[in-house]
């Protein structure tokens, strides 16, 4: 099984706090890969390192053979890396359709003159609608994004990120704040995304989601890697249980 996303010995500190220490990770292609760990484990920081918001202090990072070190976040998108955020970052004043349309940025290839003299809205109008349908928001395309309820905002963010047509899709706690029905909906979407050949990386606290949909789980604690394996193996591992202080893992 090939792994396009590989990192070796990643380190990141913030003013003396070692957020990520010596993390090596290889995400198998076309898998659903979960990143879990107690609060403060460094999961989000690792995700930010992978997506390019932070640059590591040391270590190597590559995707599909391309070295990612030093590559700014917006350029990683062209390599096929997309992500969503823990704190939802939508374009609140824009409509749902406009949010998703913005996601097609890297695919807009018409010459500048066409925009200047013809003012065409670009080629992705239909595809944007499709993505909205995919996340169950097709009927609300003209609404303002800021007016959506929280759970729907999450799904909009996913639709928008999918517009970049990623090969690697990373989600930072997508289930946070969702009720059971919404989590179920999210689960099914993630599976469908995976079925289209995308590698999905999920940072999550919600064990339902992890255990039900992930194929491989990477556990972190205090910035360091703790364990890696299938969901079953993780559940059975004493070290992991201890890290969580017997919380969600009561066997």
């Amino acid at each position: 099984m090939t792994a396009s996303l590989r990192a070796q010995g990643l380190n990141k500190s913030f003013g003396g706090v070692r957020a990520v220490q010596n993390v090596s990770i290889a995400v198998p292609d076309n898998s659903i890969f979960a990143l879990i760990g107690p609060n403060g484990a460094g999961k989000s920081t690792l995700l930010n390192l992978l997506s390019g918001i932070y640059q590591p202090d040391s270590g190597s990072l590559e995707f599909a053979g391309r070295d990612l070190i030093g590559l700014p976040a917006h350029q990683r998108v062209r390599l096929g890396i997309a992500r969503t955020f823990q704190k939802i970052r939508l374009f609140k004043q824009l409509t749902l359709l406009e949010n998703v349309r913005a996601g097609f940025h890297i695919h807009q290839d018409a010459p500048f003159w066409e925009y200047l003299f013809r003012g065409s809205a670009g080629r992705f109008h239909d595809e944007a609608h499709e993505l909205l349908e995919f996340v169950g928001l097709g009927a609300r395309a003209a609404e303002r994004a800021g007016a959506l309820p929280y759970g729907r905002q999450r799904m909009l963010e996913i639709a928008r990120a999918l517009a970049t047509r990623p090969r690697l899709f990373m989600l930072d706690e997508p289930a946070a704040g969702l009720n059971a029905a919404e989590v179920d909906f999210l689960l099914k979407r993630l599976e469908q995304i995976w079925q289209r050949g995308v590698t999905v990386v999920v940072v999550e606290h919600n064990m339902d989601l992890v255990m039900n949909v992930a194929q491989r789980v990477f556990v972190m604690d205090h910035g360091e890697p703790l364990f890696e394996g299938t969901p079953r193996e993780v559940q059975a591992n004493a070290g992991v249980v201890e890290a969580y202080l017997g919380g969600e893992f009561a066997a």
């Binding site: 997506s51 918001i53 700014p72 976040a73 917006h74 350029q75 998108v77 062209r78 997309a82 992500r83 955020f85 970052r89 939508l90 374009f91 609140k92 004043q93 824009l94 406009e98 349309r101 913005a102 996601g103 097609f104 940025h105 890297i106 807009q108 018409a110 500048f112 066409e114 925009y115 200047l116 003299f117 013809r118 003012g119 065409s120 809205a121 670009g122 963010e157 928008r160 990120a161 517009a163 970049t164």
Partner: protein, 304 residues
């Protein structure tokens, strides 16, 4: 698309008729001023309203447009239109320089940096007397078209063209990109948007349009002094954008027209009428932040 064509037709008619409806030389002069202000407000709105960059230094580009073109014409004998083109390019380049700050700074810091930028430009215009004549001023500048009505047609025509082109850009994916930067820079980057490049685009284009307005200014007033391009000019432009409706296309046009004509209608109050800029800005920010466009939309909803 036809409603847009109708609107364009109405605009052309209004422009054509205006100098005849307001027949005195004085009012025709005000019309020219109004057209220039429309250009300035459109240029600032591109940067502040659509790209969300708090730029308080737009007066610098207005001034560069005025001075570069005038100096090329008077000192080097250039033709008006070529000099104007060069001035527009110069203003645009200066806009790129300011964009370099915008890439690194946000919010208050960018506002202050842009102010500092404007002040530095003003000081250069004031002190580089060998080139600009500074406070003494440059005299005897001729407009490209002898009659005021003719000058109005030229400037208003250009303003209309700029409006249509900008409107096209905003409706296109470029508009989506700029607004993404305005709404949330971090997630915009996560969608592949190169903020530096697009901020440079907005600042550069905005500066070029302001410079374009500046090209027609000296011929209109006849003499050129740096005082017309100080910070308060930047603030006045901002007032026009916000009073009209920031972040819409028609808002700046309305704001520019209203804030050009209102002080004229208040001439009875003497110099106090200039306070209308500050007052209008305060009232709009406090009670109707979306400006007159918001008020209009609210009215339409009320009536339906």
């Amino acid at each position: 698309m036809t409603s847009r064509r109708v609107a364009i037709g109405v605009a052309i008619l209004a422009i054509a008729a205006a100098p005849w409806l307001l027949g005195t030389p004085y009012w025709r002069g005000i019309l020219v001023l109004g057209a220039m202000n429309v250009l300035l407000a459109l240029s600032l709105n591109l940067v502040i309203g659509y790209t969300g960059q708090l730029n308080l230094g737009q007066s610098a580009f207005f001034g560069i447009g005025a001075y570069v073109s005038t100096i090329l014409i008077k000192t080097y004998g250039w033709n008006f239109w070529l000099a104007g083109l060069a001035a527009v390019l110069a203003a645009g380049l200066l806009g790129l320089a300011l964009a370099a700050f915008a890439v690194r700074l946000r919010g208050h810091y960018l506002a202050i940096a842009s102010l500092g930028f404007a002040v530095i430009t003003y000081q250069v215009l004031l002190n580089w007397e060998d080139v600009t004549e500074g406070v003494r001023g440059i005299y005897g500048i001729l407009p490209p078209v002898p009659s005021t009505a003719g000058l109005f047609y030229v400037v208003a025509g250009i303003a209309l063209a700029v409006y249509l082109l900008l409107d096209n850009l905003i409706r296109s994916p470029i508009g989506d990109t700029l607004r993404a930067i305005r709404e949330d820079e971090v997630s915009a980057a996560s969608l592949g948007i190169n903020r530096a490049v697009w901020k440079a685009f907005a600042f550069g284009l905005g500066a070029a349009i302001a410079g374009l307005a500046g090209v027609f200014y000296p011929g209109f007033v006849g003499t050129l002094v740096p005082d017309a391009f100080g910070i308060i000019e930047s603030f006045t432009m901002m007032a026009m954008v916000i009073v009209g409706g920031m972040g819409t296309m028609i808002g700046p046009v309305i704001g520019a027209i209203v804030l050009t004509f209102l002080p004229e209608l208040l001439r009875g109050f003497g110099e106090l009428r200039l306070m209308i800029y500050g007052l209008a800005l305060m009232l709009v920010v406090l009670f109707m932040p979306g400006g007159m466009v918001q008020a209009w939309n609210a009215l339409r909803r009320r009536m339906s």
